[in-house]
């Protein structure tokens, strides 16, 4: 069976959208092979395969490289070749690929998450960052059963004003 036939078979099995199949088949030989090997080894589900094809394409355009070269990077190879369950490695692989696709977003998100963790807020109080940092809005959620709990939470938040202000500033690009 040729590589293309194997890709067609896998695509049929996963019900891969036609557009993504075309993009996959249009790649250079090494990249087609590398994605096929990754998809098989990690047993990528349809959504994971779609994201893999899309993100590899976009990374390769931005970095002027090929999907095969991206998949050969140590950080990704380690996950692909690691021991452990295929679903777990698949999730880790997609997450790592996303970090390569969005390096500045990942770094900023990590910094902000660390700043939120450093607030050491009590149970019941959570500071929620906007999904994918897509807005400049911070949400605070409070879960309480008594007025005394609420007052304690508000006092903690009040004491956290300067740190919350810094988080808001960072969210606003400062």
């Amino acid at each position: 069976m040729s590589t293309n036939e194997e890709i067609l078979e896998l695509a049929k099995d996963r019900r891969l959208p036609e557009t993504h199949l075309k993009r996959w088949l249009a790649l250079d030989d090494a990249s087609r092979d590398a994605i096929l090997e990754t998809a098989r080894t990690l047993k990528l589900r349809t959504g994971q395969l779609v994201v893999t094809i899309e993100e590899l394409d976009e990374i390769s355009v931005r970095e002027q490289t090929t999907p095969a070269e991206i998949l050969a990077r140590d950080s990704l190879r380690r996950i692909i070749e690691n021991a452990g369950s295929a679903p777990g490695r698949a999730r880790a692989f997609v997450d790592k690929l996303n970090a390569v696709r969005f390096p500045m977003l990942r770094q900023t998100s990590d910094d902000l998450a660390a700043a939120v963790a450093a607030l050491k807020l009590p149970r019941g109080v959570s500071v929620v960052l906007p999904k994918a940092l897509s807005s400049d809005e911070l949400a605070v959620a409070l879960k309480f059963r008594t007025m005394a709990e609420l007052e304690r939470m508000l006092a903690v938040l009040d004491a956290s004003r300067p740190a919350l202000g810094r988080i808001l500033d960072k969210l606003g690009g400062k």
Partner: protein, 370 residues
């Protein structure tokens, strides 16, 4: 600037119009001319073309416009703090081919490069608007659904527009362009009523994404020439693309601009981050698959558009705003298609209402020209 046309189509109702005559005379035998009965059908994309949108850019269609010429800017929304810009649609689509252009989605269903032969009807609409709002000033532009000047060497529409606007103190005309097509402008005195604005991008974006446009340095040089000829000038940093070296490159671009145009002579600058609906992005990626500028760190924003994630986008806005501030002159500035909270974060003040900002930009420009 010369653009290749595959054909010129003229609808039967526009045959003999001043615009059709001018275009036919300017093009001579170089481009075949065909008369069409059904202009709407002629404007449709052709399935036989490998790239229907791109091919349609090379088919000029001279036709009558049935809809009003004057409309509110299509980018306007209650979600955003807007600039009160009014759009005069004298043409639709554009011979240039920027990979990020919203027209790839906006006029995908009727992509032929349309010029409207009855454009002088727009003057009646403008006069009616002035009559209905006797105390207001308006900024009206022709560069939303087309480049204002791309084909001006053969259409000469700019001359009629300048003569009309020059006689109306409460109107400010804005030509918006990515060309250096200013020869007609240099032959007329705009009497301070006409502004020419350029979209400016760093060289990296120009080379990667702005096909068939004039180079940024040519746009800046053209701005200097029209400024010297009595026009106001403004600049749109829109779209700002958040690629890796963006902050450095936009800073270099602003240095080049301010070396040529004194900040006090700039009527305003606008800024807007790259934003694309998912379907526009899909169309853009399909037509320009190897443009890295379309592969930035864009995420789905609350307004349903893909934008650079917020801290990155706002950092760039602030860097540009600070750069102008550091130049020592207050250049009026606004953000396009951003909510009020973003204005507040970037400029430190809440944005004015669209009608107020529109008047400020028109009047501020007036003051700058004196």
């Amino acid at each position: 600037m010369k653009f290749d046309l595959d054909e010129i189509m003229i609808d039967l109702e526009s045959r003999g119009s001043a615009l059709a005559e001018r275009v036919a005379a300017a093009c001579g035998d170089a481009t075949p001319i065909r008369y069409v009965e059904d202009a709407r059908a002629a404007a449709l994309p052709r399935a036989s073309d490998r790239d229907p949108f791109g091919a349609a850019k090379r088919r000029m269609l001279i036709m009558r416009r049935r809809s009003p010429f004057l409309m509110a800017c299509p980018a306007g929304s209650s979600k955003f703090a807007c600039c009160g810009y009014l759009v005069l649609t004298l043409a639709s689509n554009c011979p240039m081919d920027c990979s990020y252009c919203f027209l790839q989605e906006y006029v995908a269903d009727n992509p032929a490069f349309q010029l409207f032969s009855n454009y002088s009807d727009a003057f009646d609409e403008l006069d009616r608007m002035l009559y209905a709002s006797p105390a207001r000033s308006f900024r009206v532009g022709t560069g939303e659904l087309a480049d204002s000047l791309a084909f001006d060497s053969i259409t000469a529409i700019s001359r009629d527009l300048i003569e009309f606007f020059a006689a109306r103190p409460r109107l400010t005309l804005e030509f918006k362009s990515k060309t250096a097509e200013i020869d007609n402008l240099l032959t007329i005195d705009p009497r301070g009523r006409v502004m020419v604005s350029w979209t400016l991008s760093p060289d990296a974006v120009f080379r990667s994404s702005e096909h068939r446009t004039a180079a940024p340095s040519e746009r800046i040089a053209a701005a200097r020439r029209v400024l010297d000829a009595g026009y106001r000038v403004a600049f749109h940093f829109d779209p700002i693309i958040a690629y890796e070296a963006a902050e450095r490159d936009y800073s270099t671009l602003i240095d080049e601009l301010l070396d040529t145009i004194p900040p006090a002579r700039i009527s305003f600058v606008s800024m807007g981050g790259l934003r694309m609906t998912p379907s526009l992005r899909a169309a853009a990626r399909r037509r320009h698959p190897s443009d890295p500028m379309l592969c930035g760190e864009d995420v789905l924003a609350p307004d349903g558009r893909l934008r650079a994630f917020t801290p990155l986008r706002l950092r760039l806005y602030r860097a540009l705003a600070d750069k102008f501030k550091a130049a020592g002159a207050e250049v009026p500035a606004y953000l396009c298609m951003e909510p009020a909270s973003v204005h507040q974060r970037v400029f430190g003040t809440a944005p004015a209402r669209p009608s107020v900002l529109g008047e400020q930009l028109a009047r501020g420009a007036e003051a700058n020209s004196q």
